[in-house]
C-alpha cells in the first residue's frame, strides 16, 4: 500500500486517503479534433513497466490533485509535484534519469 507525499499540504498520505486518477499530462482534445486525436485523449493510455507519471487526489485530506512519478515495478516514488503543470519539473526528470538511465515515457525522453 503506497504512501505519497501530497505536495500541496505536505502530508505523507496513505493510499486509502488517495484516489488514483490515471495517467498524467494528457492533452485535452475537444470539438474540432479528429477522431484519432480524440480517441488518444479519451481512451489510449501508457501502460509502462517502469517509470510512470500519474494523477492522484488527496481525497480524504486536503482534496487537492497532484502528480506522482513512480516505478510501476518496484513502487519507488521519484517525486510528487503540482497538478497545475503540463509537464514534470526538470529536476525530477534529472533525478529519474540518474536512477533509471535510458528510461522513456511518451515524449519525455532521457536528455541526451
Amino acid at each position: 500500500m503506497l504512501t505519497l507525499q501530497c505536495p500541496h499540504c505536505g502530508v505523507h498520505a496513505e493510499e486509502t486517503e488517495l484516489t488514483g486518477g490515471g495517467e498524467a499530462h494528457l492533452k485535452r482534445f475537444g470539438p474540432g479534433s479528429d477522431d484519432d486525436a480524440f480517441e488518444g485523449y479519451l481512451f489510449l493510455r501508457e501502460n509502462p513497466k517502469g517509470v510512470h507519471f500519474e494523477r492522484w487526489r488527496h481525497s480524504y485530506g486536503c482534496g487537492k490533485w497532484f502528480h506522482a512519478a513512480r516505478c510501476t515495478v518496484t513502487m519507488e516514488v521519484f517525486g510528487t509535484y503540482t497538478a497545475q503543470t503540463s509537464k514534470p519539473p526538470q529536476d525530477l526528470l534529472d533525478r529519474i534519469s540518474e536512477k533509471r538511465p535510458g528510461w522513456r515515457w511518451r515524449d519525455l525522453n532521457e536528455p541526451a
Partner: protein, 1002 residues
C-alpha cells in the same frame, strides 16, 4: 501410545489442570498446553482425515506449519472451523470436534476413496468432471458435497458475539519473530533510540533456542532469553507483543499484524482479535525455519511426525508422542530429538540416517554415546500401520526399497532438513537464492524488497536468513538490527559454536523407490498429494511450478504448503531433469497463516459498517413510520403508511393529496454546490450542456452534466445568486461525485480560471412545498411575498418564512405549483413542523420518494440512474432543448459528435402505455424479430421507469425504444419476467400529465 511424562514440560503448570472436550469426550490437560499437546497427552494421535482420500491424519508439527490437526472449535455462534490444534492454547471448557469425516472419525465412509486412489489421479478434477455434463448434478456434486470439504462453515444465521478492532502503529523498525534472532535484532536496533515493535506469533519468547538450549554470553539460552526480554521491556522506545503474527508485508513498509488477544481466555473482556495496521520504515523478519518431512511410503500415518515437533512436545509440554520412536534424519539436527527422547527415558530403537560419516559429528557421537543405535546409509522403505504407525521397514537408501529389517515403533520422528521461513521477505518482492550446501532457498540479500526511496526496507535475521547455529544466528541478528537503523556492524554476544556434518538432501526415500512406494509417499498431507502425483503432472507436460501446483493442488490447502512446497518442488525438478532454482518457487502471498474475517472487518460492522447520513428532519420521519429507502449513504422516506395502509395505498394517497392540495417533501439530500468567482459562468458553460453564463441573477435553469465521454451523468437546477455566484443543485447521490468532478477540472485542466467551489449540501435543509395549495401555506407562514408576480416560476428569492431565514426556489419536479425552501440546517425541523402545523387544515401531506418518482414520471421528467445508465446521452432523452447550440465546447460535446452518437439508430426516450392499462415490469425488454448470434431474441427497447399512476388510474412507463420518437402510436411487445408472457404497449409522448405545463406556472 502417547502419554504425559511424569516430569518435565517447561511451558505447563501441573498444578493447574484444565478440562476440555474433544468429540464430546471430556479430557484433561494443564494450563500452558496447546490443544495438540493435550490431545497427545490423552493418546489422541489421530485427529482428523485428509481432504481427498479421508486417510487417518495425526498431529505432525507443533506450530503454525501444522497441516493435519485442524479442528472445529467452539459451538453455536462461536463455532469456527479449520483451527490448528498446534496453535490453539488450551483453556477450561474448550470444545473441539474433528473434521472431514462421516459418519465418525474412527469409521469414515469416505476412506473408500483411498481404495479408489488410482481413479483419483493428479488433475482428477480437471480430467473427470469436464463431461458428461449431466453427471455433475446427479453424481459428482452430491458425492463431493457429502464427502469432501474440511470444516463446516458456521450457520449463516449466527452472529459473531465477539468484538474485533483495528490498531494503527507507526514505528521505525518492526521485528517479526521473537526467537533469539528477533530479540537480538530488536535490541540492536533499539539501542539507537529507534522506535521498535517486536511481535511474536506464539505466547512465548525464545523460539527454538528455548527448546534446543545452548550457551549465550556464558549463560543458558533460556536465561539469556528471559534477561533480554526484560531489558527490552524496560526500554520506552520498544513495544513487545506476543500472540501477534506478522501476517503480510506490503508496499512502502505497510505490515499487517494479527494479534489473538483472547482466544486463550474466551471469557475475558475486550476484543478477541486485533488487526495491527503497521507503517514501518524498516522490517526485520526473524521468522525462523520450518523442518521438512521426508517422502517415504506411509509417511502420512498418525504417529509420523516432524523430529523437532517430537522434541517440542517432550521438552515444552512433558508429553511423549510415542513410547518407541524411530528417528529418520538426513541432517545432524534430527539427532537432538533422539537425544532428548532418550534423556526423557523413552525408547529410541534406531536413528536411520542415509548419510555415511567417516568421523561422527558431535551430535551423532552424542547419540551413540547415549546408547542409541545409528543405522548409516539406511532409509525407511515404508512405515506400516493403519490408524497409527506400528513399525518401519529399513532398507538401503541407495536402493529400491528391499527390506533389510523391520523395527516396531509407535512414533517416527523425521527430519528432512530445514527451510527458512521466507514468506514475509517474499510478500513484497524479495527474491530467493538456492543454497545447495544447505539444500534450501534463502533470501537473496542483493534482491531485497525496496521501498518508496528505492532502498531495501526488509532485512532478514537468523535462521530465516539461513543461519542454523546459535552463534551465527545471533551475529546475523545483530547485523540486521544495526543495519536497519543505519549503523555499522558490530560483534554479537558470544555463543557456543557448533560443528555439524552437511545435510544430504533426500527428496525421496529410498533414492530409487519404485512405483508402489512413490504412490504412498505423501508430499501434501492435507490435500493428499503424493510423489507420484507430481511426477505424473510432469509427465503430462506441466513444467511450470505454478501450473503443477494448481493441477495437483500441491500446497493449495489451508497450510499453503508450508511443509510440502520444497519437497514437491524438488520432485518436480527431478522429474523435469532440471535444477531446483531453474524450476523456481511458487508465489508467497499474505497472510502467513489464515486470519479471522472478524479481524479484517474490525469495528466496521452493524450500524457503523457504513454510517448513515441523516437529514435535519430524519427523526420526524422515523417517528412517523417512514418506510426507508437507501439513497447513497442517506436514508430517505419511501412513503409514510398510516395504520392499516399498504405501501402502495400510502403512495397513492400521498400523490393524490399533493396533486389536489399540498404535499411536503424533505429534499434536504439534494446536492447544493456553490460555484463562485469571476470565471464561474465560463466554468459552468463547460460543465453543463446548457448556456449558464447568460442566466440572469435571480433566475433558475435546469441543467445537464455529461462526462467527457458524452454520457449524461447528473442533472439539477442552477440558480444564479449574484454576478459571480451560482448555486448548483445535484442529485442526492451525486453531490460528492459532482463536487469532485468540478474540482478535478478546475485543478487539473483550467487551473488558471478564477473559480471556487464549496459543497454546502449539509448546511441547508430543503423542504419542497408542493401542490395547488402551496402558496396559501407559505402566505400563512408570512414574511415574504411569494405571489406569481413577485416570485414567478423558475426564479428564487431570499427572505424569511415564519421568521426563519429562507431561500425560496420556484422550481417543480412534480408539475405542480411548487416552492423548494432552503433554511439553515439547524432550523430545518422547526420549519417542517411549522408547515405541518399551519397546513393541518389544508390536509398537508408529507410524501416520500416513491410519490416523488410517480409524479415526476407522470410529467415525463427523467431520473438519473433510471433513464440513464452510463450509456445514454442527453440527445437520447429528447433533451436537445437543454443543449446549447451556441457554445463551442462543453465537457462531452466532442464525444457526442462521434458517428455512433449521432446515428439515427439509437434507442430513444418515449412514453409507453399498455393497451390493457397494466403496469409494465421494470426493465422489461421489447422484443424484435429474429435472434442474435447467441440464439437470444433480438430486442428493440426497454422499460426505464414504470409506475401505476394514481392521477390517471393506469400504468404509465418510460422507456428507450429503437428510433422511438419517430414511431409514435406504434404498438410494441414487451415480455414479462417469465420471458414469455407478452404485454402490448403503445409508444406515446412521455409527458402523461399536464403536457402544456400550466399547473406549475400559476
Amino acid at each position: 501410545m502417547s502419554t504425559r511424562l511424569a516430569t518435565g514440560g517447561r511451558l505447563i503448570d501441573r498444578s493447574k489442570p484444565v478440562r476440555f472436550q474433544f468429540n464430546d469426550t471430556w479430557l484433561s490437560g494443564f494450563e500452558g498446553d496447546t490443544l495438540a499437546s493435550a490431545l497427545l497427552a490423552n493418546d489422541k494421535v489421530m485427529v482428523g482425515r485428509s481432504f481427498k482420500y479421508h486417510r487417518p491424519r495425526g498431529i505432525v508439527a507443533s506450530g503454525a506449519e501444522e497441516p493435519n490437526a485442524l479442528v472445529n472449535l467452539g459451538k453455536g455462534a462461536r463455532h469456527e472451523p479449520n483451527q490448528r490444534a498446534t496453535t490453539t492454547e488450551l483453556f477450561d471448557g474448550l470444545y473441539a470436534t474433528s473434521q472431514n469425516h462421516w459418519p465418525s472419525l474412527e469409521f469414515d465412509i469416505g476412506a473408500i476413496n483411498a481404495k479408489l486412489a488410482r481413479f483419483l489421479p493428479a488433475g482428477f478434477y480437471y480430467k473427470m468432471f469436464i463431461h458428461p455434463r449431466p453427471f455433475w448434478k446427479h453424481i459428482y456434486e452430491p458425492f463431493i458435497r457429502q464427502s469432501a470439504g474440511l470444516g463446516r462453515a458456521p450457520d449463516p444465521e449466527t452472529r459473531d458475539p465477539d468484538t474485533y478492532e483495528h490498531f494503527y502503529a507507526y514505528v521505525d523498525v518492526l521485528v517479526v519473530g521473537g526467537g533469539v534472532a528477533g530479540l537480538q535484532a530488536a535490541k540492536a536496533a533499539a539501542k539507537s533510540g529507534a522506535r521498535v515493535l517486536l511481535i511474536e506469533q506464539t505466547a512465548h519468547w525464545g523460539g527454538r533456542a528455548a527448546v534446543d538450549g545452548g550457551m549465550v554470553d556464558g549463560q543458558p539460552a533460556r536465561d539469556w532469553i528471559a534477561a533480554t526480554v526484560k531489558t527490552l521491556e524496560g526500554m520506552e522506545n520498544v513495544t513487545l507483543r506476543t500472540r501477534c503474527m506478522g501476517a503480510g508485508v506490503y508496499d512502502h513498509g505497510y505490515v499487517l499484524g494479527y494479534e489473538r488477544l483472547n482466544d486463550h481466555q474466551p471469557q475475558a473482556d475486550g476484543p478477541r482479535h486485533r488487526l495491527w495496521r503497521i507503517r514501518t520504515k524498516q522490517i526485520i523478519t526473524a521468522t525462523g525455519a520450518i523442518e521438512r518431512p521426508i517422502s517415504f511410503a506411509g509417511n502420512d500415518l498418525p504417529g509420523v511426525m516432524l523430529a523437532s515437533a517430537v522434541r517440542d512436545y517432550v521438552v515444552n509440554y512433558g508429553v511423549a508422542p510415542g513410547e518407541r520412536t524411530v528417528v529418520v534424519t538426513n541432517n545432524d539436527d534430527g539427532y537432538r530429538t533422539a537425544i532428548a527422547l532418550k534423556a526423557a527415558g523413552l525408547a529410541v530403537p534406531a536413528v536411520i540416517d542415509p548419510r555415511v560419516h567417516a568421523i561422527d559429528p558431535p551430535l551423532v557421537a552424542q547419540a551413540k554415546a547415549a546408547g542409541i543405535e545409528v543405522l548409516m546409509g539406511r532409509a525407511v522403505a515404508k512405515a506400516k500401520g493403519g490408524r497409527r504407525v506400528t513399525g518401519i521397514v529399513v532398507t538401503a537408501h541407495s536402493g529400491e526399497g528391499a527390506a533389510l529389517r523391520e523395527i516396531a515403533c509407535d512414533c517416527v520422528a523425521m527430519s528432512g532438513g530445514w527451510s527458512p521461513v521466507v514468506h514475509l521477505w517474499s510478500h513484497c518482492g524479495g527474491k530467493l537464492t538456492w543454497d545447495a550446501h544447505h539444500a534450501f532457498f534463502r533470501p537473496d540479500p542483493a534482491k531485497a524488497p525496496t521501498g518508496a526511496d528505492g532502498a531495501p526496507f526488509v532485512h532478514v535475521a537468523g535462521s530465516a536468513n539461513g543461519y542454523l547455529f546459535l552463534k551465527d544466528v545471533l551475529q546475523d541478528a545483530e547485523n540486521a538490527g544495526r543495519v536497519s537503523v543505519g549503523l555499522e556492524r558490530d560483534p554479537a554476544p558470544d555463543a557456543n559454536s557448533e560443528h555439524a556434518a552437511p545435510i544430504h538432501p533426500v527428496w525421496m526415500m529410498p533414492a530409487k523407490a519404485g512405483d508402489d512406494l512413490r504412490a504412498k509417499a505423501w508430499l501434501d498431507y492435507q490435500n493428499d498429494v503424493k510423489v507420484s502425483d507430481v511426477q505424473l503432472a510432469a509427465r503430462e507436460g506441466f513444467e511450470s511450478v505454478e501450473h503443477t501446483k494448481r493441477y495437483t493442488t500441491l500446497g493449495m490447502a489451508t497450510d499453503q504448503g508450508k511443509l510440502s512446497n520444497i519437497n514437491g518442488l524438488a520432485i518436480l525438478s527431478d522429474a523435469l531433469g532440471e535444477d531446483i532454482p531453474q524450476v523456481g518457487t511458487t508465489t508467497f502471498r499474505p497472510p502467513y497463516t489464515p486470519i479471522s474475517m472478524g479481524a479484517i472487518a474490525g469495528q466496521a460492522r452493524d450500524e457503523i459498517f457504513q454510517p448513515i447520513r441523516k437529514t435535519p428532519v430524519h427523526a420526524w420521519h422515523e417517528e412517523n413510520g417512514a418506510v426507508w429507502e437507501p439513497v447513497g449513504q442517506w436514508r430517505r422516506p419511501y412513503c409514510f403508511p398510516r395504520k392499516g395502509e399498504s405501501k402502495h395505498q400510502a403512495v397513492r394517497r400521498e400523490v393524490r393529496a399533493t396533486r389536489n392540495g399540498v404535499g411536503l417533501l424533505d429534499a434536504s439530500t439534494l446536492g447544493k454546490i456553490v460555484v463562485k468567482g469571476s470565471d464561474a459562468g465560463r466554468f459552468l458553460d463547460m460543465l453543463y450542456t446548457n448556456l449558464m453564463s447568460t442566466l440572469p441573477v435571480g433566475k433558475c435553469r435546469y441543467g445537464l452534466m455529461c462526462t467527457e465521454n458524452g454520457f449524461l451523468t447528473d442533472d439539477g437546477v442552477v440558480a444564479r445568486l449574484d454576478e459571480d455566484t451560482f448555486l448548483c443543485h445535484t442529485t442526492t447521490g451525486g453531490a460528492d461525485r459532482i463536487h469532485a468532478h468540478m474540482e478535478e477540472w478546475l485543478q487539473t485542466e483550467w487551473w488558471d480560471w478564477k473559480v471556487y467551489t464549496a459543497n454546502l449540501t449539509e448546511q441547508y435543509a430543503q423542504i419542497a412545498v408542493v401542490g395547488p395549495k402551496a402558496r396559501v401555506l407559505l402566505e400563512r407562514l408570512g414574511g415574504m411575498d411569494v405571489s406569481k408576480e413577485a416570485l414567478p416560476f423558475m426564479q428564487w428569492a431570499d427572505g424569511t418564512l415564519g421568521s426563519i431565514p429562507a431561500r425560496v426556489f420556484r422550481i417543480s419536479f412534480s408539475g405542480e405549483l411548487s416552492y423548494e425552501v432552503a433554511v439553515p440546517a439547524g432550523r430545518g425541523r422547526e420549519f417542517w413542523d411549522l408547515c405541518l402545523h399551519v397546513g393541518a387544515d389544508l390536509g398537508i401531506t408529507p410524501y416520500g420518494t416513491e410519490a416523488l418518482h410517480v409524479m415526476r414520471a407522470e410529467k415525463g421528467f427523467i431520473m438519473i440512474g433510471d433513464e440513464t445508465d452510463g450509456t445514454v446521452i442527453p440527445q437520447d432523452l429528447g433533451l436537445n432543448w437543454a443543449i446549447s447550440k451556441k457554445k463551442a465546447d462543453y465537457i462531452g460535446k466532442r464525444a457526442q459528435e462521434r458517428s455512433h452518437m449521432t446515428s439515427a439508430d439509437r434507442w430513444q426516450l418515449v412514453g409507453l402505455e399498455t393497451l390493457d392499462g397494466s403496469v409494465l415490469p421494470d426493465g422489461a425488454y421489447a422484443v424484435a424479430d429474429g435472434r442474435n448470434a447467441n440464439g437470444q431474441r433480438n430486442t428493440q427497447g426497454r422499460v426505464t421507469s414504470t409506475y401505476y399512476s394514481p392521477t390517471l388510474d393506469k400504468g404509465i412507463a418510460m422507456g428507450l425504444v429503437h428510433n422511438g420518437p419517430a414511431r409514435m402510436g406504434e404498438v410494441v411487445v414487451f415480455l414479462k419476467e417469465d420471458g414469455e408472457t407478452k404485454v402490448k404497449a403503445r409508444i406515446v409522448n412521455p409527458v402523461f400529465y399536464d403536457p402544456k405545463g400550466e399547473k406549475q406556472d400559476v
